[in-house]
């Protein structure tokens, strides 16, 4: 089986700061992979490198056999990678439906089919009743969900989710987890950054731990949560004891 996304020796340097060092990762088609690590570990930087928002200083990023490293963001999206932003970037004066349609237009030239795809995506995210609300009047939690809807409407093969669960109440997390599972069941590979450990451990088939810009561990949630280096660097003794 050949990987959908292949990162080889990826390095990102900001001036004197090495944010990502010699990073390797394979994401297989259909996987749900969680990317975790302490603040400043380089998770969002790595996302930005994959999505074309940062230039990588070394290495290669290959999507399904095609190099996407250092391609502009819109080309990466056209190749099949959609992302959300940790700090939401809504189209403030567009409605929820219009925002999702912008994504859907990538593969559907005419407005009628873009609208159909957008409505279908909103339905999957339980947002159809908000279709005609302007994005700027949504709560932060809903703005995050709109990020997912927009990205999904581009019908990507790989979806990069950057802390979409932050700010959710414990009751809301399972609902969004179900949504992500159903997206994945629809054939979309998911790579996500998340701080809510319970969510990561529930949904991820594989967990990758980033620490100081380097790969610290890569395995199933159970393996990773038992790994003493991960416990020391990130999870803490308490979590290990509880798991």
């Amino acid at each position: 089986m050949s990987a959908l996304l292949q990162l080889r020796n990826v390095e990102k340097r900001f001036g004197g700061l090495l944010a990502v060092k010699d990073f390797n990762l394979d994401v297989e088609p259909g996987e749900i992979v969680g990317l975790i690590g302490p603040n400043g570990a380089g998770k969002t930087t790595l996302f930005s490198c994959i999505a074309g928002y940062h230039r990588i200083t070394k290495g290669s990023i290959v999507l399904d056999g095609h190099e996407i490293g250092n391609r502009p963001a819109f080309e990466v999206c056209r190749a099949g990678v959609a992302r959300t932003f940790q700090v939401v970037k809504p189209f403030a004066r567009m409605t929820v439906l219009q925002s999702a349609m912008v994504g859907a237009f990538l593969h559907h030239r005419d407005a009628a089919s873009a609208r159909r795809v957008a409505l279908e995506v909103l339905g999957r995210l339980h947002m159809e009743h908000l279709a005609h609300v302007e994005a700027r009047s949504l709560t932060l939690v809903l703005k995050k969900r709109l990020e997912v809807a927009r990205a999904l409407a581009t019908q990507p093969r790989l979806l990069l989710l950057d802390e979409v669960m932050a700010g959710l109440s414990p009751g809301e997390v399972p609902e969004l987890l179900d949504v992500i599972r159903s997206i994945n069941a629809g054939g979309v590979t998911v790579l996500f950054v998340e701080h809510i450990m319970a969510a990561v451990m529930t949904i991820a088939q594989r967990v990758v731990v980033l620490h100081g810009g380097e790969l610290l561990a890569d395995g199933t949630p159970a393996e990773v949560s038992r790994d003493p280096r991960v416990v020391a660097a990130y999870l803490g003794e308490e979590y290990a004891a509880g798991a």
């Binding site: 999505a51 074309g52 928002y53 502009p72 963001a73 819109f74 999206c77 056209r78 959609a82 992302r83 932003f85 970037k89 809504p90 189209f91 403030a92 004066r93 567009m94 219009q98 925002s99 349609m101 912008v102 994504g103 237009f105 990538l106 030239r109 005419d110 407005a111 873009a114 009743h129 908000l130 005609h132 609300v133 302007e134 009047s137 949504l138 709560t139 939690v141 809903l142 927009r150 990205a151 409407a153 581009t154």
Partner: protein, 331 residues
Amino acid sequence: MRAVKYLLLVLAIVAAAVGPLVTSNSFVRDLWVLVAMWGAVATAWNLIGGYAGGLSLGHAAFFGIGAYTSSLFYLDLHLSPWLGALAGGVVAMLSALVIGFITIRLRGPFFALATLAFAAILGIAATNLTALTHGAEGMTIPFAPGLGHAIFASKLDYYYVALALLLAYVALTWWISVSRFGYYLVAIRENEDAAQALGIDAVRVKLAATLLSAFMTALVGSFYAQYRLFFEPSIFATDISVQIALFAIIGGMGTVWGPLLGAAILVPVTGELQSWLGSSLPGIDAFVYGAILVLAILFVPNGFVSLLRPLFAAKHPPAATQQAAEAEAKT
């Protein structure tokens, strides 16, 4: 509601078609021509200024390029201004390509300044390249009526030409506003990073809007030359660029009808102010005009179109949907 909207549209078109026939007053007919003409230019500006969010203060450049190109075609090459107008459109697009590459990454006020500088350079060139442009003396087109010359004895003929352009531009804007291109422009205006993440080549889309807007503006510039039969390098002046932008802003930028509404309000107001007050004290008309603008910008920042919106209450009243959003937030 939809029926009311279409009825109003039909009424407006009928009024526009027969309006100038009602009067034989030349001043009033001139106002009709000017409303249609500036309405068309403001609609062209709106594509880049309103939809794409690029606050151009240099549209006089494209307007002037249109006027000079068609006039030079006519006077020096003896080609019909109809052809010259198309040539002017092409020249304007080429210049938009150059200035577009320079300015496309600049933020609001800087984009405004750069486009302003671009029009100013053309104004200086038009003043000093006397062999080509007759310099400060200006361009005079001899009055020789004829369809091929695009010169008409009656203001009505000019009016219908301007009206045709205006309707075509408004229709084009409507079509863009409901199509992918329009969605992309608005997405770029609202958040360029997010737009790129959804596969939009922002530079290319913005450049396309700039070229289209330049072409449309230049056509009206050619019309202006054929209508007035005289113009000077001051056609490139910042005042003209500001005017064009203000029509769209006061009317409602980023909307299909806003720029026309702005021209329909401001053109008669300036005309009336000049004829009422202009002779009593020089400057008082401009003073009142400027004061109205400042007040309108501060108190009706979304343009007069936003005041009319309640008339066409949408299928989804914003108040109701907002409550839905809040209810959702609480659950």
